[in-house]
Symmetry: C2
Subunit: 366 residues, 2 copies
């Protein structure tokens, strides 16, 4: 934590150099509160995914608002979160190989760690390491509920792996995990609901089969921002949603319950024609994996292309504005990969910078 206030604090937003990543504090706080209230109402536990923000300050605020802990994808992210004071962390991923497991054990001595598994050899490696380290590690069996990525199939394979986890020393079998990544962005809401419940039903059937063997399944983990209100009431015990805090143009297309809270301040560096606007923000500012950035205040502009360092927009009619040198506000296409390109969030309220939050886990993909 810096000992002196960041020099940007107190500046007007438009006094920041560009590109700068902005968090609208009021909108962010409303998003955090809205998801917390939803989860309390269902009720379902919330363990929000830190891959979206990679920022211990935000994780702490999510926990203060009622989250039971934090989800992340990598040991490197967990290291930053534990360093930042978070104490109950699910790495919703397979942690494979001696180097990663050694780092995981160092964390397990300091915090309550949980990981996913989908292979008996990995279970044994984790068990051995946990015993040697004198640590405690909770484990979820990762079930592939249709995404076709990691995970064992629902049913027999998952039940056998759960039995294996429950049997080996050192590990605590905590439950099952399944991510409906193939359904979170289906645009049609009723189709999304149907496909999501079909997917999660596999997870719940697997849970029931494990419990029939007298192995308690404390946790059923799943649910993204696009499906939290489908899986939450349907039997999932912990939601992993992450993007709800920021939103982006992609999630906006399928979901209205949360507000855009993440923006990029850009400068117009070229106006080659009365229709064309070039900003100083390309795929090195926005990522380019998913969805497209858009102006916050010019709804009818079309993104023609993103180069590495340029956004190339066409207005729908000739215009003098935005003019050369003007600072403009853009909305990312994908909040998670955009945040991973930046060093800090400039936290904005009433047009001024009120705080700067380091993105301490940026790039921590190991």
């Amino acid at each position: 934590m810096p000992q002196h206030p960041h020099p940007a604090i107190g500046l007007q937003v438009t006094s920041l150099d560009t590109p700068s990543l902005l968090v609208d504090l009021d909108r962010f706080e409303r998003n955090v509160a809205a998801m917390a209230a939803y989860c309390e109402r269902v009720p379902v536990n919330l363990r929000p995914h830190a891959k979206t923000h990679k920022c211990p300050e935000i994780a702490r605020r999510q926990v203060e608002a009622g989250a039971i802990g934090i989800t992340c994808a990598k040991v490197g992210e967990a290291e930053v979160l534990v360093e930042g004071g978070l104490s109950d962390i699910l790495i919703a991923n397979e942690i494979v190989g001696p180097q990663k497991i050694e780092r995981l054990m160092a964390l397990a001595r300091r915090a309550d760690m949980m990981v996913a598994v989908d292979h008996p050899r990995n279970v044994e490696a984790l068990s051995d390491a946990t015993v040697r380290a004198g640590a405690r590690l909770r484990v979820l069996v990762d079930v592939d509920i249709g995404m076709g990525r990691c995970g064992v199939p629902p049913g027999d394979a998952a039940v056998e792996l759960a039995q294996h986890v429950a049997r080996v020393p050192g590990l605590v079998f905590a439950g099952v995990m399944g991510y409906e990544g193939h359904t979170v962005d289906i645009p049609d809401r009723s189709e999304r609901r149907q496909k999501t419940t079909e997917a999660v039903a596999h997870l719940l059937e697997t849970k029931d089969r494990i419990e029939r063997l007298s192995i308690p399944v404390e946790i059923v983990s799943g649910g993204g921002t696009g499906t939290y209100d489908i899986t939450g009431p349907f039997g999932v015990t912990e939601l992993q949603a992450g993007s709800y805090i920021f939103m982006d143009t992609t999630y906006r297309k399928v979901l209205q319950g949360f507000e855009h809270a993440l923006f990029v301040l850009a400068t117009v560096i070229s106006r080659p024609t009365a229709r064309r606007v070039i900003t100083d923000t390309g795929v090195k500012t926005f990522a380019g994996d998913y969805g497209q950035p858009a102006f916050r205040d010019i709804p009818d502009a079309t993104l023609e292309s993103l180069s590495e360092e340029h956004g190339n927009f066409l207005l729908n009619e000739d215009s003098d504005v935005p003019e050369l040198g003007e600072k403009v506000i853009l909305m990312p296409g994908h909040c998670c990969t955009t945040a991973n390109l930046h060093e800090e969030y400039y936290v904005i309220q009433d047009g001024r910078v009120v705080d700067v939050w380091p993105i301490a886990a940026r790039g921590k993909s190991r």
Copy 2:
């Protein structure tokens, strides 16, 4: 520069944690030498683009091999390059707004700086700042030769802007720049040659028209890795090519003259089926803007998807290898945006780490 050798130096490649970004030193050096030899032969000057590597160590090696200077896209990159000892730098971009121009002036007092312009108001702002700073700034007129991004049209508009630059105090009119970004990756070589020469002809005509006004045009800057051998012999005086040092799966499709020298070491973290291989490398390791990563040593695997932290590959037949936990080597789809996600290059020779080069300008998009 670190005072102690990096602890990774001497390790076997497969002892590195993953994901790690690797530079194959021999291949890299052959690429650097091949481009230098080509440029000497034509002859044409080489001012390679540092957006590809963002690494002063690599820039120094390019200059040692004969490059006349370095190209970059942002003031923040130039700051890192000047700090790293580079002294002749083209920011091949419009530098707009008082904050950026102030930082540019700080650089112009320490190094020989050159920028692109496409608007008279920007020319005046640069002129005023240069006069106030008592600095010297070389300026290229940016000509849009068909890409439709920044730049003035060829012909009258470019000639007028050149006259304007030549007239105002403080600035040194150095020439013209045009980037044929719309032709560098046309797969068919003869079509690429035709479209590229059409584009560059506009730039050369503009040059001739400016010279007829007795304004010397010292520099005609252009040429990417996909077109260097078209524009180099065609009248461009400085090539901006960058990717030739590393190559990637995208450039490999259109160009055979250079070798893959940039790789990512990954771990197989899941083998859900005998066909499916999941690595710990997604768009937060590879970017996702352009092209797709591929295994170096498994040519017939298909990338099914890249999530944020997972690569999802299908083998073309059932196989036990690569096995769970195995470290595998991948080739990026786009070298420039991939390098921008990492902190350092692990430099590899004969299977061992021989050096570690910091990617000091990573994320320097301001």
